[in-house]
């Protein structure tokens, strides 16, 4: 019996079935996975009402996505769910890399003291979804999650989408200004719309197994490690990965090769000996097994009029580097404030086009990185294998070779520099427009806080320095961080703000905590055009 016994969420008869009326909503979200639920919460924080439709009534079956990167945790923090995830999640400290029986090198993943969030945590997707469902329930007037409600067809109009929803109690129609397809890699709505979803398919099959094990395989019980093997002694010629999840669950990834039979390989009698070889004679119980192969693909266009694709429905990657779920949460972060602005009449549809522009770049970067990791793990020719193995040999003695070892490049936010909403920098100082704001510790009247908790949800004009000055920019909150301990304001107590952002500069920060523009303070005349540009208004004028 699986360790996690998820809640079965009830089907509640919707008003459309009770009163036989067709409801109209600002936003319908298809899929109550991490992406759909985060989307609903982000919109609710902007005051936008949505209905979330999911075809089943449970959270994720199996642990699935387990690595949540720092930027994702920062976004979850903005959505108000990160603390619970941090409390439950496992933060690993030591990574060990093996080639065959021998350890090639190990490294410490030290947390950045100036950031609230760790580099990443391991937390099963079912917990992430459960916490998001709980958070969504805190917005009863703005979020309605409808379980056992399968969207079976859609009628896409110029200013609305009508969805046909099938439920245990009958079928009804629901109309929304926008429909967000958060229905995953096998998106049914994408198929019905006949959209090409092409890319590179990898023949290699991988097996993932979750085992429950009371005794830690690591040297020190409290120090969580991540072990990666190239050509492990227990699994000839392939690669393997072992890392820890909460509740004494360990994830083991085994690369099986292209000819593996998924049914045969998933049988406990074939899985158990391999796990024993990896973790030794400690007693364990098999919790969940899945065999998969993957495709790196993306849609040519994420925004199709009133239907917008978010997460895996728009792009899929290999799991190496944890760029699937993390990439999807960044989609949410990017789309939430834009869609809210459009629905409130504060911006035109051009702002939604920037969602496609920006996240398409992110998806391409994720696909490139995860494909390279896959290629490193699965050499296609004798020479590819020779280079891979010689890199591993050199890595024992030469630091540069360690940087070439690619068992997955961890998800980091992509830069939006040079894209439509960002203004070109006029100063060589400071952080580049397009960068996700780095965090920093702050203090005010003895009370500690984090910079990122003061940003997000709205446009902010951030200034840093010893002197304060009033800057008045319509619809924009001014946040000043002082570098003078004697000031009463928010103080850069560890110097991290000044070190990262520089002094006497003004930053225009987007609602998704990305820098839209950076100017010298004397260039105040450029603030308003930069704001207009960041809202996709008057782009030509603002581009000057």
């Amino acid at each position: 019996m699986p360790h996690y016994q998820g809640i079965r969420y009830p089907f509640i008869t919707p008003p459309e079935l009770n009163q036989a009326v067709s409801g109209r909503y600002p936003v319908a979200i298809i899929g109550a996975g991490p992406i759909g639920l985060s989307m609903a919460i982000d919109l609710a924080l902007q005051g936008i009402r949505s209905v979330v439709l999911d075809d089943n009534n449970v959270v994720s079956v199996g642990s699935r996505a387990i690595c949540w990167a720092k930027r994702t945790l920062e976004i979850f923090d903005r959505l108000g769910v990160a603390d619970r995830m941090l409390d439950k999640g496992v933060t690993w400290k030591v990574g060990r890399l093996f080639h065959g029986k021998s350890e090639v090198y190990n490294f410490d993943l030290l947390p950045n003291a100036g950031h609230k969030m760790p580099a990443f945590i391991n937390l099963q997707q079912y917990y992430v979804e459960q916490y998001l469902v709980d958070r969504a329930a805190e917005f009863p007037d703005l979020i309605e999650v409808r379980w056992l409600s399968q969207v079976v067809s859609e009628d896409i109009g110029p200013d609305h989408v009508t969805l046909q929803v099938e439920t245990p109690e009958g079928t009804y129609d629901l109309t929304a200004d926008y429909a967000l397809a958060c229905d995953g890699a096998k998106s049914a709505i994408r198929d019905r719309m006949g959209l090409a979803f092409e890319g590179q398919h990898f023949e290699e099959r991988f097996l993932i197994a979750d085992v429950e094990m009371a005794e830690s395989p690591f040297d020190e019980e409290e120090t969580h490690e991540r072990w990666f093997w190239f050509e492990p002694p227990f699994h000839k010629g392939q690669s393997s990965l072992l890392h820890k999840q909460p509740d004494n669950i360990y994830r083991i990834d085994l690369q099986l090769g292209p000819d593996a039979d998924p049914v045969e390989e998933s049988k406990p009698e074939n899985v158990i000996p391999r796990i024993k070889a990896a973790v030794g004679d400690r007693p364990f119980e098999l919790d969940w097994v899945s065999v998969y192969s993957f495709t790196c693909a993306k849609l040519d266009q994420f925004v199709h009029g009133r239907v917008i694709f978010v997460g895996d429905s728009a792009h899929t990657v290999s799991p190496f580097g944890a760029r699937g779920g993390n990439g999807g949460i960044q989609d949410v972060d990017n789309l939430g404030w834009k869609l809210a602005a459009v629905l409130k009449g504060k911006a035109g549809p051009a702002l939604l086009d920037s969602y496609h522009e920006e996240r398409s770049v992110g998806a391409q970067e994720n696909i490139k990185n995860s494909s390279r990791a896959t290629n490193f793990m699965t050499p296609k020719s004798k020479m590819e294998r020779v280079f891979r193995n010689e890199i591993l040999k050199l890595a024992k003695d030469f630091p540069f070779a360690r940087t070439l070892v690619n068992s997955g490049r961890l998800s980091v936010p992509c830069s939006l520099a040079g894209l439509s909403l960002q203004s070109a920098p006029t100063s060589i100082r400071g952080l580049s427009p397009g960068t996700a704001c780095p965090d920093a510790a702050l203090e005010q009247a003895g009370e500690k806080s984090w910079l990122l908790n003061h940003l997000g949800g709205e446009f902010v004009l951030l200034t840093v320095g010893a002197s304060t000055r009033e800057i008045d920019l319509a619809d924009v909150r001014h946040l000043h961080i002082t570098t003078d301990a004697a000031d009463a304001g928010l103080y850069d107590c560890e110097g991290n703000v000044e070190q990262q952002y520089g002094c006497e500069l003004a930053y225009l920060i987007r609602p998704d905590q990305h820098i839209a523009a950076c100017f010298e303070l004397r260039e105040a005349g450029k603030f308003l055009p930069a704001l207009r540009r960041a809202q996709a208004r008057e782009p030509q004028e603002a581009a000057q």
Binding site: F387, I391, F398, F400, A401
Partner: protein, 65 residues
């Protein structure tokens, strides 16, 4: 020649010494071991060169001599 800026003689008076050392390193190695040695050499030399533009030109020069 694709890139005239690479390929000028840098080895100078040690050219024959280097070539002798290179052959000596491969002496008595099986084809597989020689292939592996060459791979290590390429990687180490690439890191010593460091500059990515130079490396791209070197690669192009090697692919189409």
């Amino acid at each position: 020649m694709t890139h005239p800026e690479i390929g000028a003689d840098n080895l100078q008076e040690h050219r024959d010494d280097f070539f002798e050392l290179l052959l000596k390193a491969h002496e008595n190695l099986s084809d597989d071991d020689s292939t592996a040695l060459n791979a290590r050499l390429v990687l180490l030399l690439a890191n010593e060169v460091g500059d990515f533009d130079t490396l791209k030109k070197v690669l192009e020069g090697a692919v189409a001599p």
